[in-house]
């Protein structure tokens, strides 16, 4: 889960990382109660980068200008997002700007400290200067000093900046984050530092053990607008496209493989839905039939779909258990729009499953390639 800049800065402040005095602005008139002296900077609080280029950050000298700027920013979408809040912040004159981050490195399977003296710009453009330190053992401050020295800092700045990295790491660890980034960390002529902008991404799997982050999460608007209205059941993952074949599978890689096969066979997917794999403590395999039924309901809402292809590989339950769920769904939706179902099942008790579906005139096969071929063919037929 992404945090907004002001939420990240609240966490920085709790951890003792220096941030500027700031205030949240929910509507332009809030600026009349501003407690920070002018000049200030107004910043659109959206989840995407590139705010500056897009015009989402403005420097203003007085209330009149500030209100006008705030109105403009509230009405400025950045990559499709409108801000719900602006951050009004004191201005700061940095002598130099650094980049600092802590991320989890998939390859080394360890946290990674990142830093560069070329902060304040789009980070992709300065990757050449980026220094990195892998935290291979339990963290200790010398890892932070190691980064800061690699960045080329010397003298008192070593301690000042490595102390910020230390705090970023503690935050990363205590809150189970995927990313803590300060860009830029401003350095003043007197060697003082200030986090001018910050980004935090919390790990979704760990969210439930951090009530403070969970609370921020609930304020967050749904980022994906979908044609298919209604919230997706927990543990499911839907991607919408613009073809005519709905795809419903259990397991992420199986879903992708099925999608690949549909395209390969000349089909046009309308969407693909993963109803969840086999190792969830919260949704164990014996909930698969119910998840399939819920998934069918979700896909059934898409009026553009002619065929729904189910590819279910049954492990912990039998094919017939899943089929009962399909049948239950089919019977309930016997009126109104009803896409054709093409069912592919692999697993135990296939014959029993076949029996049930044949009674409902739903196509069911055991072979994957054949299921794909039939689904694509059905999607192209005029009858469906």
């Amino acid at each position: 889960m992404d945090l907004l800049e002001y939420q990240a800065k609240n966490l920085f402040q709790q951890m003792g990382i220096p941030v500027l005095p700031s205030q949240q602005i929910s509507q332009p008139k809030d600026l009349k109660g501003l407690k920070i002296p002018y000049p200030i900077v107004l910043k659109s609080q959206v989840y995407t980068g590139g705010r500056s280029k897009a015009g989402g950050i403005r420097f203003v000298e007085n209330t009149i200008d500030a209100v006008a700027a705030a109105q403009a920013i509230f009405h400025l979408p950045i990559m499709g997002q409108y801000p719900e809040v602006l951050l009004a912040e004191a201005r700061y004159q940095p002598e130099r700007e650094l980049y600092l981050a802590v991320v989890l490195d998939r390859s080394s399977r360890r946290p990674l400290l990142l830093g560069s003296q070329e902060g304040g710009v789009e980070v992709e453009s300065v990757v050449g200067q980026m220094q990195q330190v892998i935290v291979d053992q339990e963290f200790s401050p010398f890892y932070a000093r190691r980064l800061v020295l690699k960045m080329g800092l010397r003298g008192e700045l070593i301690q000042t900046v490595s102390s910020v990295v230390e705090k970023m790491y503690r935050l990363f660890l205590e809150k189970d984050l995927d990313l803590v980034e300060i860009n830029p960390l401003a350095v003043s002529a007197r060697g003082e530092v200030m986090a001018l902008d910050g980004k935090i991404i919390a790990n979704n799997d760990a969210l439930a053990r951090h009530p403070d982050l969970t609370a921020l999460c609930s304020q967050q608007p749904l980022s994906n607008r979908t044609r298919i209205t209604g919230a997706l059941p927990a543990g499911m993952n839907l991607v919408e496209l613009d073809g005519s074949i709905g795809i419903l599978c259990n397991g992420g890689a199986l879903t992708m493989a099925t999608l690949d096969l549909v395209y390969k066979a000349g089909g046009k997917p309308a969407n693909y839905l993963n109803v969840g794999g086999e190792f969830s403590h919260h949704l164990p395999p014996n909930t698969l039939p119910e998840r399939v039924r819920q998934g069918l309901e979700v896909l059934g809402r898409d009026r553009g779909t002619k065929v729904v292809l189910l590819n279910i590989v049954c492990g912990g339950v039998g094919c017939d258990d899943v089929t009962e769920a399909i049948a239950a769904h089919w019977r309930r939706r016997s009126v109104g729009h009803r896409p054709v179902l093409m069912v592919r099942l692999a697993g135990s008790r296939f014959d029993a499953a076949h029996e049930i579906l044949r009674g409902l005139e739903i196509g069911v096969v055991h072979d994957l390639d054949e299921a794909i071929a039939q689904a694509v063919s059905l999607s192209k037929s005029k009858v469906a």
Partner: protein, 298 residues
């Protein structure tokens, strides 16, 4: 092989939702489940398996344990794994998904220090057909044979196994290393194990887009693996998951001196090509490539 019908197996979280479903299935397959652990439920039994409050209690009563299968709550997996390591168990199979990645970092530091093999999390575990099931693989899909199957996924692994079995190619072992960002054992580790395993004549690697596991595996195959390898990569037509696009991941990939293209289907395909590993363009093509590979070997 590290795992056989003689292996003595423990199930931690045996009465948790995953344990309840899979422990009986493993037992039916013939896996020697000598005990289960479920805190607060000591002195009971589950499907005839004695249940203990603590791993060390279980070992004290039933004797040595070779492998533990952990299927408890995601937030309890780290503790369960550390408990198993402290009790001297050196093979851990983690089924549960949703384990916080920083818990895995801590576990893997400990595993490395104690030379413990950790498979998973978010993994179907291991099956040695005809011998032992340590996880969620549906036994009907598998048969004994010469193919070593390694994968990051769950149900797609079963699918590939089924295609192989139906085509007459049984498996020496099938391992799902787990689908999470941070997992224990890597493709490289398993490639090395299978390279040394006498029962394995050909290796099938089932990959998917995202991460750099396949790229690393391909490099390792070129350097260190003599047995033939066949690959399949799911996700050619799917967009990378949004999580891949975030600043940290981009930076980490860039800094690690990798292309921004890392994780894409094309990057993985190119890596396997460079390693002269044939890549199947659909699951049903895997048996054909396996057949060719076996013909070359003999």
């Amino acid at each position: 092989m590290l795992f056989s019908a003689a292996s003595r197996v423990l199930i931690q979280g045996i009465t948790d939702p995953l344990g309840k479903v899979y422990a009986p299935l493993m037992q039916q397959y013939g896996t020697q489940i000598v005990a289960g652990v479920a805190s607060g439920q000591g002195d009971t039994n589950f499907h005839g398996i004695p249940v203990f409050d603590l791993v060390e209690q279980a070992i004290a009563t039933v004797g040595q344990v070779d492998t533990t299968v952990i299927c408890g709550h995601p937030y309890m997996v780290l503790d369960a794994a550390l408990e198993a390591i402290a009790a001297g168990i050196r093979h851990l199979v983690l089924l549960t998904d949703g384990v916080p990645p920083l818990d895995m970092v801590r576990l893997l530091r400990k595993a490395e220090a104690t030379e413990t093999l950790v498979v998973g999390p978010n993994s179907p575990g291991i099956i040695v057909p005809g011998e032992i099931l340590l996880g969620t693989h549906p036994p009907d899909f598998y048969a004994p044979g010469p193919v070593g199957l390694i994968s990051r996924s769950g149900t797609l692994t079963y699918e590939v196994a089924l295609q192989l079995t139906q085509a007459g190619f049984g498996q020496s072992i099938a391992v799902g290393i787990g689908g999470d960002r941070i997992v224990g054992s890597s493709f490289q580790q398993w490639l090395q194990i299978l390279e040394e395993d006498e029962a394995t004549q050909v290796i099938v690697l089932v990959g998917e887009i995202g991460g750099d596991s396949e790229e690393n595996a391909a490099r390792y195959i070129a350097e260190a693996i003599d047995k033939p390898v066949v690959a399949y990569i799911a996700g050619r037509t799917a967009p990378l998951e949004p999580v891949m696009g975030h600043a940290g991941a981009i930076i980490a990939a860039l800094v690690a001196d990798l292309s921004t293209e890392i994780g894409t289907f094309e990057s993985k395909l190119a890596a396997f090509k460079a390693a002269q590993v044939p890549v199947a363009d659909r699951p049903s093509q895997i048996p054909d490539l396996v057949k060719k590979a076996l013909q070359k070997v003999s």
